[in-house]
């Protein structure tokens, strides 16, 4: 197991909720920490009473929502600065990226919802894009909150159910979010091909 993850787990065992809060926020800042492993472990720690599962699930969802909002405001404040400074050089101008507006209007709600718990590897970029395109904060909180609740509930309950064996479970399902995301990408590509074919037919 990675040293960082191990140290974090020891800290969670000793200090509980505040460490979970910090870990989730660090994870949402883009530091590569396996938050899924942290959630599974936290669920397992709830078995012996170190943590309380009924507090843990809404608490983790709330921390994750704060992380989402951090990314959202990061995108809102600095997103265009990034586009104007760097991406312009490779041809990605503000005008060319305007198609994202249409996408956010049409699919924004569900993109935010599903990237919280199903297609998790692209959660952070979706938050930043939502902020950049000034997606409604109210809707963002609603859909991200519901998604995070599912994410927290899913992993913490699994950890609780598997108890001391959570680590074996983590090794077993570790790659699953990435596989699901790439599978989704494949289906998306198929759908896009169908749409283009239908358009030119």
């Amino acid at each position: 197991m990675l040293d960082i993850l191990g140290s974090l787990l020891t800290l969670i065992l000793n200090y509980g909720y505040p460490i979970i809060f910090v870990t989730i926020l660090i994870g949402y800042m883009g530091v590569p920490i396996s938050l899924n492993a942290i959630l599974l472990a936290s669920g397992a720690f709830a078995v012996d009473g170190t943590l309380n599962i009924y507090i843990l699930i809404p608490y983790v969802a709330f921390c994750a929502l704060l992380g989402d909002l951090f990314n959202y405001y990061l995108g809102k404040k600095f997103g265009y600065l990034l586009i104007n400074r760097f991406t312009k050089k490779v041809g990605l101008t503000e005008k060319r990226l305007s198609f994202v507006d249409g996408y956010m209007d049409r699919w924004g709600d569900w993109s935010i919802f599903y990237t919280r718990w199903l297609f998790t590897p692209i959660g952070i970029p979706v938050n930043i894009i939502a902020g950049m395109r000034k997606y409604s904060v109210k809707n963002f909180v609603l859909f991200a909150g519901c998604g995070e609740l599912i994410w927290a509930g899913m992993y913490i309950s699994l950890g609780y159910f598997f108890g001391a064996n959570w680590y074996v479970l983590w090794e077993y399902i570790q790659e699953t979010p990435q596989i699901i995301m790439l599978l989704g990408l494949g289906f998306g590509l198929l759908y896009m091909t169908y749409r283009i074919w239908k358009h030119y037919r």
Partner: protein
Amino acid sequence: MRYTISMDKQKKSRRILLLLLCIVAVVVVFFFAGKMFLKFTHSRPPVPRQTNVELIQEWMTLPYVSRTYGVPFKDLREGLKLSPNENERESIKDLAKSLNIESAVFIDELQVVITRFQDSHSMPAKPL
């Protein structure tokens, strides 16, 4: 005439592009669906709440091990010949370091203590 030829060419290249896109999409879908299928059918899922001593790791603390494996903390400390002054909050790795022994050796000793405790009690330690 020239216009018709260029239109045909454009149509043809579009068809090839769409076909390629479709092939890539199908390959991606089948590859990852296959990977998922193999993963979940060819490897055994873990057993819920199994308290196997082999699962003890460096990051765990002794009170956590005590709670998880159902061995009273006092027995654990006595079995490992630890003084009451040792920091309970330390991980096994740090504890082993402070005792100047390898953490793997410390884990081995811990496993022996737990197994001995479980054997000496008529009921095995209740899985959590």
